[in-house]
């Protein structure tokens, strides 16, 4: 059904090397952009119907939906780009609901003057990420803003997924006696993006962990693990995600610092900048809350899936003090993990 993608931008460079206002104007140019760029990269029957929206049969049962917007700078970073991020970020929000991602929509806000080649690379990456995640990008939109009024590309998405469990997965289902499972090492996405920013002159081999998480969630659900809550560890990192769940689920969570894996280069880059890896963003990691008795089985199931091969149990859930996360430090003391005030700022000296 799909043809191999050509790495060459389908809109000839001598024709339109860069996005122009007219590419969002609704006329011939926009049609050409959609056909040559997005249809070519996303190819699927629903999109190829070329209608204002996509019509599809309901698979029956419960559906999950989510929406997300992507504004990353730089657009390309080691291990991914804004396109892979848009697909993986959206399907992961569905996966965290215990839903198999099925359909995505994508709206592009392009800045006048964006090289067509750049857009093509992003579109191709999105197409590939969507195929890898087993979803179709079924409808979309394109707008162009004047040069200087955008950051190259913004992408807004929506996603639809089919809920493949009968339980209630969410912070409200977390119970005292649950175990906290982390799906792998932390901090790679945030440090990859930071390292890619030109103002930060260190060379880094850290690649983003950007990946679709449904296969890991599916393994848990298919394996019969009673999943109470799932949360992907995006902005704010592991600490913020767990702090939110403790607050929303009115439980006390205790994490063991020594059990939380982070790669040596990630830890070193964080040390250098005065950042705490617990608060650094991930795009391919999640925390699962399951009854303690299920924890060994959950870890085993997750480790059999490539995206969560580094899964470990990192903590436990208790009843009091409700709403609080305590980290047992490697040196044998304890400290509170809380939401950050604003973003993490690199320290001065």
């Amino acid at each position: 059904m799909t043809e191999p993608f050509t790495p060459v931008c389908p809109i000839p460079i001598n024709e339109y090397p860069a996005v122009q206002m007219a590419h969002g104007g609704g006329g011939r140019l926009m049609r050409s952009l959609i056909e040559k760029m997005f249809l070519a990269a996303f190819r699927n029957p629903l999109l190829e119907a070329r209608h204002d929206g996509a019509v599809f049969p309901s698979p029956g049962g419960r559906l999950a939906t989510t929406t997300d917007a992507f504004v990353v700078r730089p657009l390309f970073f080691p291990g991914g780009n804004i396109g892979t991020l848009a697909v993986d970020g959206t399907v992961n929000d569905l996966a965290m609901c215990g839903a198999r991602p099925v359909y995505l929509t994508a709206a592009f806000i392009l800045e006048e003057g964006l090289p067509m080649e750049t857009l093509w690379r992003v579109a191709v990456a999105m197409g590939e990420a969507a195929r890898d995640a087993g979803v179709s990008i079924v409808t979309g939109d394109t707008k162009v803003v004047e040069r200087g009024r955008g950051d190259g590309i913004y992408i807004a998405t929506a996603g639809v997924g089919v809920v493949e469990h009968t339980g209630a997965i969410g912070p409200g289902a977390v119970r005292a006696g649950d175990a906290v499972i982390l799906s792998g090492d932390i901090g790679r996405h945030g440090m990859a993006v930071l390292g890619a920013r030109e103002s930060l002159g260190f060379e880094s081999a850290i690649e983003s962990d950007c990946a679709a998480l449904w296969p890991a969630v599916e393994a848990l659900l298919r394996g019969g693990v009673e999943v109470h809550c799932l949360r992907d560890l995006t902005r704010g990192g592991l600490a913020s995600a767990v702090a939110e769940i403790a607050a929303d689920g009115r439980v006390a969570i205790r994490l063991a610092e020594a059990a939380i894996p982070a790669r040596e280069d990630v830890r070193a880059a964080c040390e250098l900048l005065g950042l705490d890896p617990l608060y650094v963003a991930n795009e391919g990691r999640f925390a699962a809350f399951v009854p303690a008795v299920c924890a060994p089985r959950a870890v085993e199931l997750l480790r059999a899936v490539p995206v969560s091969a580094g899964a470990v149990a990192i903590g436990t859930v208790g009843a009091a003090p409700a709403g609080r996360v305590v980290l047992a430090s490697a040196i044998g003391s304890e400290r509170v993990l809380d939401l950050l005030s604003g973003e993490q700022l690199p320290r001065i000296c």
Partner: protein, 367 residues
């Protein structure tokens, strides 16, 4: 991580704690000067490993915290001017001035940029010849060499659109001010390791002799701090008052002569006001006459520094080690990292922020 994990070993930490417990026979109060040390102490719970009679008080070594409100106001004013690109370390952006912080200046349309090194601001100036680029030169002796390089480089390049808003401060005069204050209760100091890596230990030898006070050059990892505390307490118990340097992997007696030469070629010692403390003679650096064209205060004709600080904030007493953050009536109520009254609640190195993050009521009971 090599060279870090070795200094965070739990078993060695407990051994140090036992050693300290054996050495100490009566109550002592020692101050860790640097905010980085304060955070390490609270983050790792090191104070709780010490015997009950030993009190650690937190010093003024947080560059963000001691930058006076008047200078923050000047920064905010400059950042709001059309044609100005205001560059700063990220940490300064949330420090409240009289009428808001640099984040709010940016939201109001100012071009405020976070840089990771002063030379990055020079690059910004080079790339924007039609605009004025100002760098907020805050920090202790640690940041002075890089700021000196930036100015020297800008002068070499003949850049006329680059200047510094200088808030550079020096540690030894601040220690001296603490020792001289009538309310002082500090009996020994853990000197800031990174600062000493630049300056060497000579300035502290003079201080130690003049005030008969033990000073131990101390690093930032848990074992560094426990070792520093152990050595300082041993001196106190033995009635000695010397400078000792267990942080020899970073600090040499002569410091970094190249960095020192750079600093003194660009800067000269000037009196400077410290937030919450007031003016301390000879406690800051200002640009030398030949680099005046790079002084933002002169260049933009900025007004004086006088500014009113919130009277509920006891930052000055916290910075001098007279009060603990939790003794402040505003702590955790009117003053939180989301709505800070004083700078120590803002900075990654501020004592109030450290207590908020690691020691709020009910948080982190003894391990």
């Amino acid at each position: 991580m090599k060279y870090l994990d070795e200094y965070r070993d739990a078993e060695t930490a407990r051994r140090y704690a036992r050693l300290i417990a054996r050495v100490v026979t009566r109550p002592w109060t020692i101050m860790e000067v640097c905010g980085g040390q304060t955070h390490s102490i609270l983050r790792h719970g090191l104070d709780r490993l010490l015997p009950g009679g030993v009190t650690l008080v937190h010093g003024p070594g947080c560059p963000v915290c001691v930058t006076p409100v008047g200078l923050v106001d000047r920064a905010v004013e400059l950042a709001g001017r059309p044609g100005v690109i205001f560059c700063s370390f990220g940490d300064m952006l949330r420090v409240p001035g009289t009428h808001g912080d640099l984040f709010s200046a940016r939201a109001a349309g100012g071009d405020v940029r976070v840089v990771y090194a002063p030379l990055d601001a020079v690059t910004v100036a080079e790339a924007n010849p039609g605009r004025e680029v100002v760098f907020f030169a805050v920090g202790f002796e640690t940041t002075a060499p890089a700021n000196a390089v930036a100015v020297a480089r800008a002068a070499e390049m003949g850049l006329r659109n680059f200047s510094l808003l200088v808030a550079q401060v020096l540690v030894p005069p601040a220690i001296e001010a603490i020792l001289a204050s009538p309310g002082n209760r500090v009996q020994g100091f853990l000197a800031p390791g990174h600062v000493c890596a630049v300056t060497g230990t000579a300035p502290y030898e003079a201080l130690s002799a003049r005030w008969t006070v033990p000073i131990v050059v101390t690093g930032f990892e848990p074992l560094d701090i426990l070792q520093g505390a152990a050595m300082c307490l041993r001196q106190l118990e033995q009635g000695r008052a010397q400078v000792e340097n267990p942080y020899a992997r970073a600090v040499r007696r002569e410091g970094n002569p190249h960095a020192l030469a750079l600093v003194s070629s660009v800067f000269e010692v000037v009196p400077r006001a410290w937030r919450g403390i007031g003016e301390i003679p000879g406690s800051g650096l200002g640009l030398r006459a030949e680099y005046r064209p790079f002084d933002a205060v002169a260049k933009f004709g900025l007004a004086g520094e006088a500014a009113i600080e919130d009277s509920a904030c006891i930052a000055g007493r916290v910075l001098q080690g007279v009060a603990k953050p939790t003794e402040c009536p505003a702590f955790g109520g009117r003053c939180t990292p989301d709505r800070p009254l004083g700078a120590p609640m803002v900075s990654a190195e501020g004592a109030c922020a450290a207590y908020w993050h690691y020691r709020r009521a009910g948080a982190g009971a003894a391990a």
